[in-house]
Amino acid sequence: MFTLARNELYRLFLSPLTWVVLALCQLLVAYLFLTHIDFFMQVQGKISAIPGAPGVTEMIVIPLLNNAATILLLIAPLITMRLIAEERRNNSLPLLFSAPLSILQIVIGKYLGTLSFFIILLMLISLMPLSLSLGADLDYGVIASGLLGLALLVASFTAIGLFLSSLTAQPTIAAVSTFAFLFLLWIIDWAGNTQITAETSNLFNWLSLLRHYEPLLQGEVNSSDLAYFLIIIVVFLTFTIRRLDAERLN
């Protein structure tokens, strides 16, 4: 299982796409980071007089993590698309199927490999706000909860991407459908805001990824939010396992 995860990660870093994604992601986050710092410098003088005014953490780190989530939403499909779709296209799945591995091990192995890539990416991203600690006091609790939120968010992205990749032999289709699906989950609470009925809006609010990410950004770690992410991950990994099993039966 871990062999598979390591192989997956290793092969990811052999692909130029991965490096390009890492570099561009870093570039975008850096730019956003600078604009947030800029903005903070402008308003700093005005708000410093107000008691209980937002500090560096609230003004820079939290918006940055929020933006990083959007960027990850865009790049996650590109990384997860190849997971199974490409193997299917290259006819390399039989290698795994005829090895003494269960489908569960195959799926978890691939999942962990890709997840470790995103964890590396997250560490790179988090270095930027942490560099502020050189000149400012940071609220590490809030940052930790924000990073936890981002990690859970990415873990859900990966699980969903893995499932959609297992449905097709075309990586592009996997990427597009993953993006569409993630985006839908991102904005699904907009329907809730239009107040059709209280019940549907509750459901849509609950389904929305964003609604569960925001509290974590504010430093609120609710077990219901954690449960939501874990449910998403487990459900989509199970779907993937079922899907690959079904393929063997037909």
Binding site: T3, Y10, R11, N90, N91, S92, P100, L101, R248
Partner: protein, 316 residues
């Protein structure tokens, strides 16, 4: 030959939708045997191979590998098989060595033995000069070898090769065949192909599958016997009248191919060769060529398939 088979398939069937791809196929393979699976395209060869390797679950039937049920104890059973599908499953961005390392790992070779396992596989498949090359940059023949190396790296009891020589040039085909013979000295091999001479060169036992059904199962010698035709081809520079040839005991009919060349059909029990020779000498027919004719493998193949389908039609 040991009494219990290494791999035993019992009444395998598989449907694709409503299409019956493999119908009630049963066979055994014993230690050290090379079993050839022969059949036209679309006969169900690959489907059977997929089922044997655990890539496809049969709708009916049972597969026992070295005493383990492939469906009930897949992990233990799969540890005893090596599988090379029609398209070799390779990660083109890895080097040969990296790829084989990964294969050794997922086949649960302990880290103590992993290097020796890789080296043995590399050596046996003639990949020693290629270990640092990217698989994607190798020629098709070498990719096929990497595929075979992958299948034998964990020294499985049974190696399943699905059309291992398809798409290769004649030299590569010869090399791969040589390699397969070599592998067969240590593993049992199941080989699927639609090339008849290949089966004759490589296999101890032949099974012919057509339209999902096993219609012939015999040793290669048995297949060769089927090829014995009761025909003699002879060239006589000063031929006697046809009637003289027809009088030879056993001869049924004589075809005149050209003024000096004849084909004699004879009864299978009575071979007239000796008689023909002595008459040709005493009566000075100037015999210059005498050749027993063999059916080509293709003929035998077509015969068997046609016989079967006519039987099937009759029963319907």
């Amino acid at each position: 030959m040991s009494s219990s088979p290494l791999l035993s398939a019992q009444s395998l069937s598989h449907y694709y939708g409503t299409h019956l791809a493999v119908n009630n196929v049963s066979f055994d393979i014993y230690k050290g045997e090379v079993l050839g699976f022969l059949g036209p395209n679309g006969a169900g060869k690959s489907t059977t191979m997929k089922m044997l390797s655990g890539n496809l679950a049969p709708n009916h039937g049972q597969i026992m590998i070295n005493g383990y049920d492939l469906l009930r104890q897949p992990k233990q059973a799969k540890a005893h098989i090596g599988y090379l599908p029609e398209h070799p499953p390779l990660y083109k961005e890895l080097t040969v060595k990296e790829f084989l390392y990964f294969c050794a790992k997922i086949n649960l070779i302990s880290s103590k033995h992993i290097n020796s396992a890789i080296n043995i596989a590399i050596e046996r498949c003639g990949l020693s000069d290629m270990t640092k090359r990217l698989i994607g940059n190798l020629s098709k023949g070498y990719q096929q070898r990497v595929g075979i190396a992958q299948a034998i790296i964990h020294t499985p009891a049974v190696v399943i090769l699905d059309e291992p020589t398809s798409g290769l040039d004649p030299i590569q085909i010869r090399e791969i065949r040589h390699l397969i013979r070599d592998i067969a000295s240590e593993h049992s091999v199941i080989l699927s192909t639609h090339i008849l001479p290949e089966v004759q060169m490589l296999c101890d036992r032949v099974q012919i599958i057509s339209r999902g059904q096993l219609i012939f199962n015999d040793t290669t010698t048995g297949l060769n016997k089927q090829r014995q035709a009761s025909n003699l081809l002879c060239t006589l520079l000063s031929p006697p009248p046809l009637a003289a040839l027809q009088q030879i005991i056993g001869v049924i009919t004589v075809d005149t191919l050209n003024p000096t060349q004849f084909r004699l059909h004879y009864q299978p029990e009575i071979n007239p060769t000796a008689e023909l020779l002595s008459r040709a000498v005493t009566q000075q027919w100037q015999l210059t060529e005498l050749m027993p004719e063999q059916h080509s493998l293709e003929d035998v193949f077509m015969n068997i398939i046609q016989q079967e389908s006519s039987i099937v039609e009759q029963t319907i």
